[in-house]
């Protein structure tokens, strides 16, 4: 049983790797890179998953992978042409394959209907392939030739009769289309290439551009209608459907559409494989706009090229239990402390005349730092798998909202601590969905605004001075500030008539209970808004910001610490205990003057600072430790920013210095201590507690503070 489990784990680990390769390859394909090797690689990945899944009798997965593989085999052997339509099916199928693998791993039931839909889509491709051939009316018995189903009869190919019937009734038809855009078409921001791409989605499109009217580049005069196209479209769609494509440019161009007979003179079929004639094919019409978008990001081609190189030569890796790394990590932390103690001791012994000793101590120090860095690097992982998951989220969200969207990733190679990556998945998913759902406009509105109907979301990661910065940018409509302010006022989040700056209004969307979606959509708008995202990011010790430009789009920036294992803190002491306050919470330290602190009631104290009143919290009383300074010693306050009660002042005995410490959990060996988030080991081997200012403020017991008020 245990051995079986181990194999199972291995299978899912492998499947995960294979799915990552698959998704990599698909990204390369969508970037317009067409190479048989990529298709082979995709085929191999699906085939391997199918093979191993068979060993664990995951039938649904095997069935689906098999059908998928059949389609890929068609592409591989040139029986199927990789049209944008087919590419979309291939992409969606990869998504579904990932869903099935995940379901198998967690042993959850999958929605059989979804699988059926995905299978039907694959079948439709196979049918369409046979249909594009000379035989306009394929029969069920002929279709299996498209795949290796005959070699493996146990996975019988069952085409859906429904598709075949509809095919048999209509059959592919050829249309000759003449399209001559007027200048007004360009002036209105329409793009002929997109129209052609849309046409190509209906079927097999051949284009021929008429450049005869194009003046010589040196000619001074401007010719009004320089470009026109002669198109030939083989499609199952009706003439109405074709006319629909040109709906938006009605009156902005000359358009003639002529239906032809059922014959397909350009494609001759021999032995089931279509041989293409040398007409200009719109093999990647969809890729054309995609490519421009990607090229807009200068960093993208470079990183894409890098990832290709990496894919060609897979570097050997080793799977290690995270616990073992954790142990190594702890041991190294201790080594560093031990090293500094020894160095201190050697220093104390005044051995300076012994040059050898100094050299050894120094090389020990360097060695220890090297080991620490190396161990830190083990935990660091590229954000790529996380980002790849997001491209699936974009597709799902786009499908769910009827929008068209693409994801452009930049800097996927950026390495971040594994824990950070894990805990970033949920907030990032939420934000990406949010961008598609609320950020991007619908295709019609985008066209009307002169934008590409396909919305773009940029997801980038980069290192910036000790932290990692992740940005999510969309080219949508930007925030509707009036609406945001209106909602905030209506929900009582800001008083009516409040005068807020643009950035203050933008930041309102992070408030709890704020949701702009007037109609609750399936994806976002479930009442949980961006406040959840902000809380999640803050719990990782990060910050989230928003910049919005009306009509241009919105950009969210998440800044996170590189690792959760290290924290920047202010070392303070209360009583005889040293503690750390996370530097992210600290605003300033203050020695209040007489009269600046006033008692309110028996227990409460308020600090007056720059016209504001801030509650004072006695840390010693809250933590149940006696104060170490005399009652008449000057008061020392640490101003901290908290979620629950805004700015608060913590009364402390001493503020030492700022330092970076390694975070150690208290929970595994003891449990949760109120007001304390974790602990750390200081340079002398002592343990210092890391305070959680939010929790301390929330649990404030109040105390007899009046005694310490300076007078």
């Amino acid at each position: 049983m245990a051995a079986n489990d181990a194999f199972r784990d291995l299978f899912f680990e492998e499947a995960e790797d294979l799915l990552a390769t698959l998704s990599d390859d698909l990204v390369r394909l969508s970037a317009g890179e067409f190479d048989n090797e990529i298709v082979h690689s995709i085929f191999r990945a699906v085939h391997s998953i199918k093979g191993s899944a068979g060993a664990f009798s995951l039938e649904e997965l095997v069935d689906f992978a098999h059908r998928y593989e059949t389609v890929l085999d068609g592409v591989r052997s040139d029986r199927l042409e990789l049209t944008p339509d087919l590419f979309r099916v291939v992409q969606r199928s990869a998504d579904h394959l990932a869903v099935l693998v995940e379901a198998a791993r967690t042993e959850q039931e999958t929605d059989r209907a979804v699988t059926e839909t995905a299978l039907a889509a694959l079948d439709a491709c196979l049918c369409a392939a046979s249909a594009t051939g000379a035989d306009p009316m394929p029969t069920a018995s002929e279709t299996p030739e498209a795949g290796p189903a005959q070699e493996e009869p146990q996975f019988g190919f069952v085409p859906l009769s429904l598709d075949l019937d509809s095919l048999a009734q209509t059959g592919p038809q050829s249309f000759d289309i003449c399209f001559r855009p007027h200048p007004s078409l360009y002036e209105n921001g329409h793009e002929p290439a997109l129209l052609l791409a849309q046409l190509a989605e209906l079927g097999h499109l051949e284009t021929e551009i008429d450049l005869s009217a194009l003046p010589h580049w040196s000619a001074p005069e401007i010719v009004e209608q320089a470009l026109s196209w002669k198109l030939r479209l083989a499609t199952d769609a009706t003439q109405d459907a074709i006319e629909e494509v040109f709906d938006f440019v009605d009156g902005l161009c000359d358009l003639t559409i002529q239906a032809e007979g059922n014959d397909m003179p350009e494609t001759v079929v021999q032995n089931g494989a279509p041989i293409e004639t040398a007409t200009t094919k719109l093999a990647e019409p969809d890729a054309a706009p995609t490519a421009t978008c990607i090229e807009a990001e200068t960093a993208e081609p470079a990183s894409a090229a890098k990832s290709v190189a990496a894919a060609d030569t897979p570097r050997p890796t080793l799977r290690v239990d995270l616990d073992r790394i954790e142990r190594l990590f702890n041991a190294v932390g201790e080594l560093i402390i031990n090293q500094s103690m020894i160095a201190q001791r050697v220093d104390d012994l005044q051995l300076h005349h012994d040059a050898d000793m100094a050299v050894h101590v120094e090389s020990y120090r360097l060695l220890a730092r090297d080991i620490q860095e190396a161990v830190m690097a083990i935990r660091a992982q590229p954000v790529k798998p996380l980002f790849q998951r997001m491209s699936r989220i974009v597709r799902e969200a786009a499908d769910g909202t009827g929008k068209q969207a693409q994801l452009v990733m930049v800097g996927e190679g950026t390495e971040v601590d594994k824990t950070v990556i894990e805990r970033l998945a949920d907030p990032l998913t939420h934000m990406i969905r949010n961008s598609v759902d609320h950020g991007l406009e619908g295709p019609e509105q985008r066209c009307a605004n002169g934008k590409d109907p396909v919305g773009t979301i940029w997801l980038s990661a980069a290192h910036r001075s000790g932290s990692v910065v992740i940005t999510i940018r969309d080219d949508g409509g930007g925030l509707d500030r009036e609406k945001v302010l209106g909602v905030a006022v209506k929900k009582g989040l800001v008083p009516a008539g409040a005068d807020l700056s643009e950035s203050e209004i933008d930041n309102l969307i992070f408030l709890p209970g704020f949701s702009t979606a007037s109609a609750t959509s399936l994806l976002s708008g479930r009442g949980v808004g961006l406040d959840v995202v902000r809380t999640a990011v803050q719990s990782l010790g990060g910050r989230v910001n928003i910049v919005s430009r009306p009509g241009k789009g919105t950009e969210f920036t998440i800044a996170l610490p590189l690792t959760l294992a290290v924290l920047d803190g202010m070392l303070i002491s209360v009583g005889n205990i040293s503690m750390l306050v996370p530097i992210s919470a600290v605003l300033e330290t203050i020695r209040p003057l007489a009269g600046e602190v006033q008692a309110v009631g028996p227990d409460e104290c308020l600090l007056s600072i720059r016209g504001r009143f801030v509650p004072v919290i006695d840390l010693a009383a809250n933590l149940g430790v006696p104060r170490a300074v005399e009652a008449d010693a000057p008061m020392l306050l640490l101003l901290v920013e908290t979620e629950a009660r805004g700015t608060c002042a913590l009364l402390v005995d001493r503020v030492h210095d700022q330092r970076q410490v390694v975070i150690k959990g208290l929970e595994s060996n003891y449990g949760h201590v109120p007001g304390v988030s974790a602990a750390t080991v200081l340079g002398d081997g002592q343990i210092a507690l890391i305070l959680d200012p939010d929790a301390i403020v929330a649990q404030n017991h109040g105390a007899g503070l009046r005694a310490v008020i300076p007078s």
């Binding site: 040293s578 003891y670 201590v673 081997g685 343990i687 507690l689």
Partner: protein, 153 residues
């Protein structure tokens, strides 16, 4: 006596003194024994929890065993040691007066704690083992720790 016993039926105990009484802990629970080191107090902890200490980079809580059995606080002394014990994945320290020996007993020699024991003693002692100079109380480690752990957040 231990030589004659069946190997399988034998249990090894670490015997130590705390609050003037003899206690023993199954050696499988004991990871190591260290000298008393600096302990950082924890806020809002029960009085028998002295605080946390640093065990090669791990933060572990230290309990005053005498206080756990309501025998008063362990007085600071040279011979005081901390017994590092494992309870499942949890590592904790027990401050005791001194560790005397490791003794092996046949399982049959361990007697159930009589019903007359009340209060904290009853719940944290799983049995008694006879020693030449009297007897030693076998600590029920899971029960001892459980009581003193804060409620998980």
């Amino acid at each position: 006596m231990q030589d004659a016993a069946d190997q399988n039926g034998e249990v090894e105990f670490v015997i130590f003194t705390s609050g003037g009484q003899s206690f023993s802990l199954d050696i499988r629970h004991v990871r190591e024994i260290r000298g008393q080191s600096a302990v950082t107090p924890l806020p809002h902890a029960p009085e028998e929890v002295l605080g946390v200490t640093n065990l090669r980079g791990a933060v572990i809580p230290v309990f005053d065993l005498a206080r756990c059995f309501a025998l008063g606080a362990t007085v600071d002394a040279e011979r005081n040691v901390i017994v590092i014990a494992m309870n499942g994945t949890q590592t904790i320290g027990l401050l005791v007066q001194s560790v005397s020996e490791i003794v092996s007993f046949p399982r049959a020699n361990i007697q159930d704690a009589p019903d007359m024991l009340g209060g904290s003693a009853q719940s944290h002692i799983s049995g008694l083992v006879p020693l030449q100079e009297g007897m030693s109380r076998v600590i029920d480690l899971p029960s001892l720790i459980q009581r003193r752990m804060p409620v998980p957040a």
